[in-house]
């Protein structure tokens, strides 16, 4: 049945064209384009780094410099930049936030761009130790929102997504606009914020769209939520086969020369001869995009915007950029009570009735202001 459908599917537009009335012009919507299904083993499992930029990305940095600026002019320009961006009204939103919808089971909210700071040792209330990874949500703003109809025409759109998702662009770390190119600076005109060092995008459902210019905060999440973290792993550069794939190498003595850290054979003979695709060999190691799923938020600091995630393994060295968003794991979704408390589409400062506490802990995490663990002696 499936094979029959696969065979007939590519023919359908052709047949329509052949048998249609000549007066009617046939236009094919993108959804009606049929793809021949290909089944193959995915090789390689790691991602090779692209050496060229995607054609639809604008150039980011510029090397232009003004040689005839003296110190007073330099100072004047800095003041202008601060006046333009830093000293405007607290909210650059012209017409207030967009309509706020309730959080549903199908809703997918935007995420934030966080900086990885490092890991610490913490304890639970029963005394068991565990490690936490600390992320800082620093200077985040929403830059753009693309509705689903428009996003469906983008090259990065995948047909199976249909019209479910729009695209939300989020930026982090405001910078001096002089170091960026003009087309890159123009991306931030709509949001009314200074150009950002890093940009990323999240797929969101239209009911959770956030207006460009809105600041994102650590209060976007709550203690006890589960999040996915995505980032690039540490860049090791070109590495040999022992470090990259954990091969054994060869003995260091007994007549071995020049092959202590080499791989052995590359393949068999006869039917299985040649070097197969995906053979583990030396090459560029690290700088892969990796995701850690379902990390629990066990502590939040609202003053410094810190997220404490239970567990280690968030990719990259400290000060790597990490995309943090609500988890997609079905077992870690919110229950009915938690769904009512979600900040939709994000947290606004007006939402807080009272001033928030500086630090919030999950129920099972030991707070350092508490007394030591005391166990009651059994009576026997």
């Amino acid at each position: 049945m499936a094979s029959k459908a696969a065979v007939t599917a590519p023919l359908r537009p052709l047949c329509n064209f052949m048998f249609s009335n000549t007066n009617v012009t046939v236009t094919l919507a993108p959804s009606s384009v049929c793809f021949q299904q290909k089944r193959y083993r995915r090789f390689p499992k790691y991602v090779v780094r692209p050496t060229t930029r995607k054609p639809w990305h604008v150039r980011k940095w510029t090397e232009k410099k003004d040689e005839y600026l003296d110190a007073s002019n330099e100072q004047f320009i800095k003041e202008v930049i601060i006046d333009k961006y830093a000293k405007v009204a607290p909210s650059p939103l012209k017409d207030g936030p967009w309509e706020r919808n309730p959080y549903l089971r199908e809703t997918r909210r935007t995420g934030v761009l966080a900086l990885k700071l490092g890991s610490l040792l913490h304890w639970k209330k029963d005394g068991t130790p565990f490690y936490v990874t600390v992320l800082q949500v620093l200077d985040n703003h929403v830059i753009n929102y693309v509705p689903p109809e428009l996003y469906a025409t983008y090259p990065s759109h995948r047909p199976h997504q249909g019209l479910r998702f729009g695209m939300q662009v989020v930026g982090s770390l405001s910078c001096d606009p002089r170091q960026f190119s003009k087309p890159y600076n123009n991306l931030f005109m709509k949001a009314g914020v200074p150009p950002k060092r890093w940009l990323t995008r999240f797929l969101v459902t239209p009911d959770a769209a956030v207006q460009p210019g809105t600041a994102l905060d650590v209060n976007h999440f709550k203690v006890g939520d589960y999040v996915d973290t995505q980032g690039r792993t540490r860049d090791y550069g070109f590495q040999g086969v022992i470090k990259r794939w954990g091969m054994k190498g060869m003995p260091k003595s007994h007549g071995t020369t020049k092959s202590e850290r080499k791989m052995g054979a590359t393949g068999g003979g006869g039917d299985k001869d040649g070097i197969w695709k995906g053979k583990h060999m030396p090459g560029m190691m690290g700088n892969y995009l990796r995701t850690m799923y379902g990390l629990k938020i066990c502590r939040i600091n609202t003053r410094y915007n810190l997220l404490y995630l239970a567990g280690v393994g968030v990719p990259g060295l400290p000060h790597t950029f990490i995309r943090v968003s609500d988890t997609v794991l079905p077992r870690r979704q919110r229950n009915e009570e938690q769904m009512a408390e979600v900040a939709m589409p994000t947290w606004f400062p007006e939402d807080a009735e009272e001033s928030l506490p500086e630090e919030m802990f999950a129920d099972d995490v030991f707070q350092f202001t508490e007394p030591s663990l005391q166990l009651e002696a059994e009576e026997s």
Binding site: A86, L120, P129, L173, N287, L317, P318, H319, F368
Partner: protein, 338 residues
Amino acid sequence: MATSIAKVCQSVKNLTRRSDLLYQQACCLCASFSSSSHLSHPKKLQHVINYQRTRAEVARALRRKQNFLHYEQVDKHRKSPLQSGTELVQEEKEDVAPREYRYVMPEFLPNPDFQYRDRVLEKMERRDMLRRRAVIDIPEFYVGSIMAVTVSDPYSPGKTNRFVGICIDRGGQGLQAYFVLRNVVDGLGVEVLYQLYNPTVQGIQVLKLEKRLDDQLYYLRNAPLEHSTFSFDMQPVTLPRDAPVPVNTTKVKLNPKPWEYRWERFNLKGIEPIELTPKMERGIKEHAKPWEDYDLMLKYRQTVNEDEERSIMTEVFKENSHIESQRKSSRTVLRKKK
């Protein structure tokens, strides 16, 4: 006409030369403003901040295509007037901690490797440590001191366990700080590792405050048991006030081989001289690293910057003296009630 053009050219040349100089000064003055000047003039840049590495290494770390930022760069962003949301608290410079304070509380010094450092994270960690210190009294101790530790233990009948022993090692940074106690129980040497900030620790008491000649006393494993035997009923020995910490200069005679490690290679001061065999001498000569005493860069990389250490220790000293004064006042209140 020609002369006027020549004049203009001359003035333009002067201007450019002058503007370059001024630009460098401006860079120095406003280094914390933004990184634009870094990017537009990569060759002229004079790094003002004292990095822990050579300039070439820092430049490699600051490359644009890297997927992470240098920690100094992150701090610039945090202090930039363009950013919104977070703020850094200004450090107040007040009474300075004594120089020996780094040996009293070595776990407050951060990891010297610049790749793993972050000022906000270190600050948060220090705050948690001081909060824990306000709850339980963690006294001053050194390797060689005799201590008693009480922990809550679900498997003991009274649900608490008290252990007495000599501190043979101390290490770890931040919340991961630990120390190791050694004693002899029923003729068998026992060593227990305790985490300083673990909530199961109910109390730490120093029975005898003293130092030894070495940083680690793991050689007691290969010494007669009498050197690591201490009574569990030992009474605390009090020192006169403001007296320096005494140094115990006893020399231990090691058991004959086999040993846990080749102790003759460790340059230990707390053991009696060993009779060296020719094989031992050969091993010492092979594994000796006499150049490390003169390797200034190695020392520089393994220790935290002196200015930074002073600012950290001042903060800790201030907080800790505040905690101690509060503890004293609460004690006097209790006495009056009795």
